[in-house]
């Protein structure tokens, strides 16, 4: 019975937690600019993250190490410091993007500019972590996150041609504006394959004392959770294709996005959009802040845990406090949250090999995994997506900047 509950919870988290600021912004922008063409990028990203999350869980269950712990051990402090710094920096930008997302949700319903909400949002996030009962908060956020299913409802209400969706599950070349196309493709992949997802997952598995008996559950959660979550992202893209692409609307401001649900679902759609944006970004922000603290604490052997008093894990608490503070300040400066979000996603894609290759090496090390080392398919799938995403990002990001967008 317990295992079923775990699966259910895992699935709920996977579905509800998938469409945060990054996935939302990139999916909607892609749908608006290229119709259904970029669905394959979501598919590729989902396959990659499903494999990565499964690996992260398997590592925790078999070796009883969290990912940062194992990485430091396996590579030594010198090499570990590289993925450490990269992931912390990228995660920080994503954290700021999520705070931006919540702040924008609040702006949409109150009219008060998003930057003034940033300190409030940051404080709320910090308070919930400070209250050191994250397991409860996490379950709550996951359940509430299911509101994002409204995107699927919206896409269906718009009579999204499923044939079109199917036709674009496989990659295709752009018909126009290739620089923008590839930039959006890598941003989508970066949004799906967020390091915080699989780093965070291993910490949870260790805290829940997973063992080899959990391997099956792990596979189901990873596969179905990410799969269903990806469906929500595809629905957001499809909605944008139906509502925006047909009208020649491109998405340059967050303020345009609620229209994607208001069109099919009226006033209720607008409200649910705001709720989705706020809740999903808030949940993601909590996780990312914790993940940054985990990464540093576990990498240095400090005490850590989501349910311990701050006094008892002081350095750990300090890290998430500083992270949230700085991220909040960044949004307070009034930086364009949409641009920040999309840029962080592209940066995530660019940094994928650095964050993913160490995990792959550990996952193929029998010292950690025993008989449960990676199947060659897992290795191939993840490596393929990461390297391609990085290489394309390397070219597409500067071009996007030169293009002046």
């Amino acid at each position: 019975m317990n295992k079923l509950v775990e699966i259910a919870l895992g699935l709920v988290t996977g579905i509800g937690g998938f469409l945060e600021a990054g996935s939302l912004a990139t999916s909607v922008q892609a749908g608006a600019s290229f119709g259904f063409q970029l669905i394959w990028a979501i598919v590729l990203g989902v396959i990659c993250i499903a494999f990565l999350v499964e690996m992260s869980g398997r590592l925790a269950a078999v070796s009883k190490h969290t990912l940062p712990d194992a990485m430091r051990e396996r590579f030594g402090i010198r090499f570990f410091s590289v993925p450490l710094v990269v992931v912390v920096l990228v995660s920080f930008l994503v954290l700021a993007s999520e705070i931006g997302g919540v702040s924008l949700a609040l702006q949409l319903i109150t009219g008060i500019r998003f930057q003034w909400w940033a300190p409030v949002v940051a404080l709320a996030i910090w308070l919930l972590l400070w209250a050191h009962n994250f397991s409860l908060v996490e379950k709550g956020a996951s359940l509430l996150g299911l509101v994002t299913i409204v995107f699927v409802v919206g896409a269906l209400k718009l009579h999204t041609p499923l044939g079109e969706v199917g036709a674009h599950l496989l990659p295709s070349m752009p018909r126009e504006d290739p620089a923008k196309y590839w930039f959006m493709a890598v941003s989508i992949i970066g949004a799906s394959v967020s390091p915080y997802l699989f780093y965070f997952y291993s910490a949870g598995a260790v805290e829940d004392h997973w063992d080899e008996g959990h391997l099956g559950v792990n596979r189901i959660i990873a596969g179905l959770g990410m799969g269903f979550g990806g469906t929500v992202a595809v629905a957001a893209l499809a909605g944008a294709a139906m509502v925006f692409h047909s009208r020649g609307i491109q998405i340059d401001r967050y303020e345009q996005i609620p229209l994607v649900l208001a069109e099919p679902l009226g006033h209720g759609g607008f409200i649910l959009f705001v709720a989705s944006l706020g809740i999903a970004c808030f949940g993601a922000a909590l996780e990312i802040a914790l993940q940054i603290a985990y990464l540093i604490a576990q990498g240095f052997g400090w005490k850590w845990g989501e349910n311990i008093r701050p006094r008892q894990a002081a350095r750990f608490a300090l890290v998430y406090t500083v992270a949230i503070l700085l991220a909040g300040l960044l949004i307070l400066t009034g930086i364009d949250p949409l641009r920040l979000t999309v840029f962080s996603m592209a940066l995530t894609a660019l940094s994928l090999p650095v964050t993913v290759v160490p995990l792959l090496i550990v996952m193929n090390d029998p010292e950690y995994l025993g008989d449960n080392v990676n199947h060659w398919i897992s290795n191939a799938a993840v490596l393929f997506v990461s390297v391609i995403a990085c290489v394309v990002a390397l070219v597409a990001i500067p071009l996007q900047f030169l293009g002046g967008s």
Binding site: S63, K64, H65, D69, R72, E73, F75, G76, I77, R78, F80, S81, W130, A131, F300, G301, W302, K303, W304, R309, P310, R311, A314, R315, A317, L318, T321
Partner: protein
């Protein structure tokens, strides 16, 4: 030597299972006509930083002397204190009584502990 390498960067726990830090350094004893052996495990004091980059480590140490606990010396654990090597390295000490947690306590007393609700 291999043992030394294997020990480096492992998680260290005290006799009660409390997390103490990572093995930041290992002091190996060279003996005449006998294979070298691990004499001491070192935790903290900028040892790990020195392995990343000597220059940055020096800068870091200067900064650490400005703030933080008065005694920033690394903790040296003699081999005799090592109880078990498994997922972690368990040592026969009490974390709270060692300098391994000096920074943890400093942060707790000067920063985190001052915020209500800690």
């Amino acid at each position: 030597m291999k043992l030394g390498q294997a020990l480096l960067d492992q998680q260290v726990t005290d006799r009660n299972g409390e997390l103490m830090g990572k093995v930041d350094g290992v002091i190996v004893e060279l003996r005449k006509e006998k294979p070298p052996r691990v004499a001491t495990l070192v935790i903290g004091g900028g040892t790990a930083a020195a392995r990343v980059h000597r220059g940055w480590a020096r800068w870091l140490l200067r900064w650490r002397r400005r703030w933080g606990p008065r005694s920033d010396e690394p903790l040296e654990i003699p081999w005799s204190r090592v109880l078990k090597i498994g997922v972690d390295v368990k040592v026969d000490l009490e974390a709270e009584r060692t300098p391994a947690l000096a920074w943890e306590h400093w942060v707790r007393d000067h920063i985190i502990g001052r915020i209500p609700g800690a």
